[in-house]
């Protein structure tokens, strides 16, 4: 036989040098992510513990101290009815962050799932889902939510219904286009060759790969949703007075803009700070590695 005598040798041990391991776990996160994450955590704490932190109630009227400038007793000053703006902001944050979480993450889950299905199966499933997604995305968010509120009436209810109707579509589109690429990778083919059910292939193997970019995107989405919420509140379409919402506090202060700038400026800065935190986290995650993931 002219074959090489590899057959009679014992198998060579796997001595190939593996790629260096990145730092895993929390140490592996970049500075950006940590700073941003810190900010977000601070916000969550402030929101959760608002009733304990806030020096005043959210609707404590005090007509003696109308439009008081910021001071130690009123960190953000007071508004036109003497209410402490800082306390109002804390309570508003509580409400708004809660809504933001509710309208960001459930649509993410639904959207990724539907997008994965559309990308995996193709054919008619894909055609139907993709077209619905296209229609949803065509609507400017704001207009659609306003239309829903026009039907349902202003208040938190309108936002909770209106935003998810469109929000899932963005994630579905993202997940679908990624699934189309993922489908061709050998390991997805291997799930079929190994006899795994399609359910397992999609849920256990594909979706975890798709989640990564959706989660990164959700940091941006949270900012966008918070901005949307506050915009709606500003327009008077959000939670109705006297409930404190970030946008309505700002709207209240508009009439006294020149003289009592703090009512409008400071709550807005709070929103910007939150956005900065979420943005830094999103940036940091998309730059670095987080335990493997689709290259």
């Amino acid at each position: 036989m002219t074959t090489i005598d590899v057959l009679d040798q014992p198998p060579a041990p796997a001595t190939e040098i593996a790629a260096p391991r990145g730092r895993s776990g929390l140490r592996g996160l970049s500075l950006q992510t940590k700073v941003g994450g810190g900010i977000l955590v601070a916000f969550v704490v402030a929101a959760v513990f608002a009733p304990l932190i806030a020096p005043y109630g959210s609707n404590e009227l005090d007509f003696v101290h109308i439009y008081a400038a910021p001071s130690w007793s009123h960190l953000f000053g007071t508004d036109g009815a003497g209410r402490d703006v800082f306390s109002r902001t804390l309570y508003a944050l509580r409400l708004d962050l809660g809504i933001v979480l509710l309208v960001t993450y459930p649509p993410l889950v639904l959207g990724v799932f539907l997008g994965a299905l559309a990308g995996y199966f193709g054919g008619i499933v894909d055609a139907v889902i993709a077209r619905i997604v296209d229609v949803m995305i065509a609507f400017p968010f704001m207009i659609l939510v306003i239309a829903v509120i026009a039907i349902v009436g202003p208040g938190v209810k309108g936002v909770l219904i209106g935003v998810p109707i469109v929000a899932w579509a963005l994630y579905a589109r993202l997940a679908r286009s990624q699934m189309l690429v993922l489908r061709e990778q050998s390991f997805m083919l291997a799930t079929v060759a190994l006899g795994y059910s399609r359910k397992r292939a999609i849920l256990r193997h594909a979706v975890p790969n798709l989640m990564r970019s959706s989660l990164i995107y959700s940091t941006l989405d949270m900012i966008a949703n918070l901005l949307l919420l506050s915009g709606l509140a500003y327009l008077g379409l959000g939670a109705q007075p006297p409930t404190a919402e970030l946008g309505s506090i700002i709207a209240d202060g508009q009439s006294a803009l020149l003289n009592a700038w703090w009512v409008t400026t400071l709550p807005g800065l709070v929103v910007v700070l939150f956005g900065l935190g979420a943005g830094l986290v999103g940036d940091g995650l998309s730059d670095g590695r987080l335990g493997g993931g689709v290259p």
Partner: protein
């Protein structure tokens, strides 16, 4: 190949077609193949010869828009083409395994290596968590991954290509299948690693009575490990037989061309031209009358326009589709040392 009884896998008259916007493409025109238990069979051919499709068909893994248009596939007497989806899944889980060409996307990047092997043990063999974990470590060291306990915690991107292929092999053989389909498993690896992987496959085949269908475009790879080989061209099997017979006494002009184009060590330093088969492989959308190789064949005769590409015996177990037999007369050995015959 003449289809023998007692075979583990029997493919007869396989035809695989694709319906594309440019028209109907025939990937495999007519292929018959059989594999006996424990035997390593090679399937060699160039890109577009149809070898990958034959391999994929064995577990009905032909990607759409392709489909198996004709032929029969039997595994251990069971009709693979008639299996229901559930049966097919069980079949893939327990009786047959497959490893793929690209080691870089062959493992799920978000799960640890050990996890992926354990998963198949739990899902396909019903093992409990700790049992599966222990067995997974055994499997990993069995395929040559040292320090399996620590390495099992790594992610695929931390492994080199060769190691990933080993994991892939462990995964595919975890449920003790009787046949392993290997679709160009070493093409993306360097030569040293290639030799190691081939050695691994050979050892596993011997130790576990595992039959292997090894698909490659590289005759050198085939020659290292296979007992028998089939040569494919243009969707047909043009020659098949024991590796020795093919290597020393190939009867089909295409096979000879392939063998002659392997550079030999002795030709180093000599100013000779490597013989090559001129021309291009046939366009799979065109139907060719007669012999599918005729346009590139040095020994073409007028009668070649009418032959049927059926395999005829040369000696026991050795068949060829070439009725002209230009090499039969003087028992011409395969040269390939750079001289033009």
């Amino acid at each position: 190949m003449s289809v023998t009884s007692g075979s583990l896998l029997r493919i007869e008259g396989l035809r695989v077609e694709f319906d594309t916007p440019q028209g109907r493409v025939v990937g495999v025109r007519d292929a018959s193949l059989s594999i006996r238990p424990g035997e390593i069979v090679g399937l060699v051919g160039e890109t577009g010869s149809g070898k990958t499709m034959v391999c994929r068909s064995a577990m009905r893994l032909v990607p759409s828009p392709g489909r198996i248009a004709a032929g029969s596939i039997e595994f251990d007497g069971r009709d693979v083409l008639a299996m229901s989806q559930r049966r097919l899944r069980e079949f893939r889980a327990h009786d047959i395994g497959m490893i793929f060409q690209d080691p870089f996307s062959s493992l799920n990047p978000v799960f640890r290596v050990g996890q992926q092997v354990s998963e198949t043990l739990r899902v396909n063999l019903g093992l409990g968590k700790s049992e599966a974990h222990a067995r997974a470590l055994e499997l990993l060291s069995d395929v040559g991954i040292r320090d399996a306990e620590r390495r099992a915690l790594s992610y695929p991107h931390e492994f080199s290509g060769g190691m990933r292929q080993r994991v892939m092999i462990a995964l595919a053989t975890a449920s003790q299948p009787r046949l392993l389909l290997a679709d160009e498993p070493t093409t993306a690896l360097d030569v040293t690693t290639q030799a190691q992987i081939l050695a691994l496959l050979t050892r596993l085949s011997r130790e576990r009575e595992l039959a292997v269908l090894l698909v490659s475009h590289d005759f050198g790879v085939i020659a290292q490990v296979c007992n028998r080989v089939a040569v494919m061209y243009g969707g047909h099997i043009v020659e098949a037989g024991p590796i020795d017979a093919i290597y020393t006494n190939a009867q089909h002009p295409y096979t000879r061309g392939l063998l002659e184009s392997i550079p030999r060590l002795e030709s180093a330093g000599k100013r000779t031209r490597l013989p090559m088969i001129t021309g291009d492989p046939p366009d799979p959308t065109d139907a060719v009358a007669g012999c599918v190789f005729k346009l590139r064949c040095r020994y073409r005769q007028p009668g070649c326009d009418e032959i049927s590409m059926a395999l005829e015996p040369v000696s026991p177990g050795h068949e060829t589709a070439c009725p002209v037999r230009p090499f039969a007369a003087a028992d011409m050995p395969v040269t390939g040392a750079g001289a033009r015959a």
